[in-house]
């Protein structure tokens, strides 16, 4: 395994070489200096973080046992509830809503002595692939801000690239050095896309691995909370903390927590069969396809893994199946935002229906409205069979082909995204073109498979991500392979 930044930091804190407070202050200093250019944070919790860091330092000084994440600074996507902090979902609808309790993943972070530093921007209600759909501001990809050393900010650049989405700020915060680790969510690629665009590592667990209690859901049958980190070790460490059974989320009923990274994490294993689907390269930008193919080839040569060319023709049904089902589930999930129990305050309180319609129309953004309307349309009695039921069949069809492919090999690899990060403002006019960017990430969500992205190359200054998809439940093995790939590529 290559030297892990996360492992080095945690070892330094636990051995007393670095205090949790000093680690935190270094992150706060970078945020104060550079977040006006990156625009990752919706809210910072510096005072609470300083108190938590002092408690960790006191435990270590007293020789008391500390948690797995002792002193590591974690930032969280603002769709996860942190008690007494704003839970906005990057929407005007919830701009001033304060969470009354902690999400299950936040409880777990605190139990393992993590330092939670603040909440991160995203596309509104996680609907988007580039962070431009936040109701507040667009997060900027750190490649547009920092030089190679990560220290000199270029505030005046006109070439501002998107960080990907919807968890764009989670990836940007890790890449900018604002935190050691970040929590994000992935419904159709929302962890893997920004990981690829910002040059960090991100992982979407098998569906049902992480409790979604306290997460503002976008699409209940797809979404998973997952880690983002500078490296696969960081993802594995955070995953081992947040995974496991939680009686408050029935999807985790059979879940066993993913193991902590063992000493042989990321070690080479001989004769793994890895499938390379030709459909993952056919529609990709040729430079991206070549960079990923080269990286896979270099990895196979060093590791002795066997590469097998496979075909999964059902990949082409991924986008329609995914979006039609997301529209339906999202329209249902959004019904609760009516401005009464919580959320934006109605200007009038005349009669129920017009009051609710007015407050929803004024405070829900364009892409969310589009999804609500389409979801409502395709689930009406007269259109359900033509769209919703057909999409459920397409989901089964895609899943069958991926399951068949994973009978022939242990993992599937290919590009994470078909294209490089685009400039802020591009792809704003045509929603379909934006949706098509998700073609290589949505299949893992349709099938509930674990999948992650590791940086594998740069084209100009723009990072390229290599996606690894594993078998359902093989989360540890998938992140371990990601670590092995990282090592073989020597720090791309």
């Amino acid at each position: 395994m290559k030297t892990s930044k996360t492992l080095s930091t945690t070892n330094a804190i636990k051995s007393g070489g670095l205090t949790a407070s000093a680690n935190l202050e270094a992150k706060i200093a970078r945020i104060e200096k550079y977040d006006s250019a990156v625009k990752a944070f919706i809210e910072t919790y510096f005072d609470d973080a300083r108190t938590a860091a002092k408690q960790v330092d006191a435990k270590i000084a007293a020789g008391k046992p500390v948690g797995k994440l002792a002193g590591l600074v974690v930032a969280v996507k603002n769709v996860l509830a942190v008690k007494d902090k704003k839970l906005t979902c990057a929407s005007k609808m919830l701009e001033n809503y304060v969470a009354p309790y902690d999400a299950a993943v936040i409880e777990k972070l605190q139990a393992e002595d993590a330092i939670i530093i603040g909440s991160l921007n995203c596309d509104e209600f996680a609907c988007g692939s580039d962070n431009t759909k936040s109701a507040f501001f667009a997060t900027v990809n750190p490649v547009s801000v920092f030089d190679e050393k990560g220290e000199i900010a270029n505030f005046s650049t006109s070439e501002k690239y998107v960080p990907g989405g919807s968890s764009g700020a989670s990836a940007a915060a890790v890449a900018a050095g604002f935190c050691d680790l970040a929590l994000a969510t992935d419904t159709g690629g929302s962890i893997r896309c920004p990981a690829a665009f910002c040059g960090v590592t991100g992982f979407k667990p098998t569906y049902g691995t992480v409790s979604r209690y306290g997460m503002a859901d976008m699409s209940m049958s797809f979404e998973q909370i997952g880690p983002m980190a500078p490296d696969a070790y960081g993802c594995a460490l955070l995953l081992s903390v947040i995974s496991g059974k939680d009686y408050r989320d029935s999807t985790t009923a059979k879940t066993i927590a993913v193991a902590s990274p063992a000493p042989d994490f990321g070690a080479a294993k001989n004769k793994i069969r890895i499938g390379v689907p030709k459909e993952y390269f056919e529609g990709a930008n040729p430079a991206v396809a070549k960079a990923v193919k080269d990286a896979i080839g270099r990895f196979a040569e060093k590791s002795g893994c066997e590469l097998v060319e496979i075909s999964i023709p059902a990949v082409k049904f991924g986008i329609p199946a995914y979006y039609l089902l997301v529209y339906s589930e999202f329209a249902s999930a959004m019904q609760k935002y009516d401005g009464l129990k919580y959320g934006a305050k109605p200007e009038s309180n005349d009669e129920l229906v017009p009051t609710v319609s007015k407050v929803r129309t004024a405070n829900i953004g364009k892409e969310c409205k589009r999804r609500i309307m389409l979801g409502t349309y395709i689930t009406t009695k007269e259109h359900k069979d033509a769209w919703y039921t057909k999409a459920l069949k397409a989901r089964a069809y895609v899943r069958q082909q991926f399951d068949d492919a994973l009978e022939k090999c242990e993992f599937i690899v290919g590009p994470t995204m078909p294209n490089l990060a685009w400039k802020i403002g591009e792809k704003a006019a045509d929603p379909l073109q934006a949706y098509l960017e998700d073609v290589l990430t949505v299949p893992a969500n349709l099938c509930g498979l674990p999948a992650g992205s590791v940086p594998c190359a740069k084209i100009g200054k723009l990072p390229v991500g290599l996606q690894v998809i594993g078998k359902r439940g093989a989360d540890y093995e998938t992140v371990s392979l990601m670590a092995q790939i990282e090592s073989s590529l020597n720090g791309c």
């Binding site: 329609p320 129920l352 319609s357 069949k393 509930g448």
Partner: protein, 94 residues
């Protein structure tokens, strides 16, 4: 794809979804919906014999320990936009 989606279709759907877009927005939404669903009609190629799948997991009840869980209603009530005597106030519905 079925028949083209009209502005009137969108207007009806908006009413069901408790949204009230402007006339300009209705035109744009109808155009976007037609372009999107035209592409998505690709799924008509899926064989009818395939069984629909709603979920990737087999369902199982998650049972919590039979213990009383105390919650603090103050945090919940804090979010209410209008309240009276610890109750949420809503506009009249008829």
């Amino acid at each position: 794809m079925e028949k083209k989606i009209t502005k009137q279709d969108i207007e009806r759907v908006a009413s069901i979804a408790r949204l009230s877009p402007s006339q300009d927005e209705l035109e744009g939404l109808a155009a976007d919906a037609n372009a999107i669903l035209e592409y998505f009609s690709l799924i008509d190629e899926i064989p009818d014999s395939v069984e629909p799948q709603t979920y990737v997991l087999s369902h199982e009840n998650a049972l919590r320990p039979d213990e009383e869980k105390k919650t603090d209603p103050k945090g919940i009530r804090r979010g209410f936009n209008r309240q009276q005597d610890n109750h949420m106030l809503a506009p009249k519905s008829f």
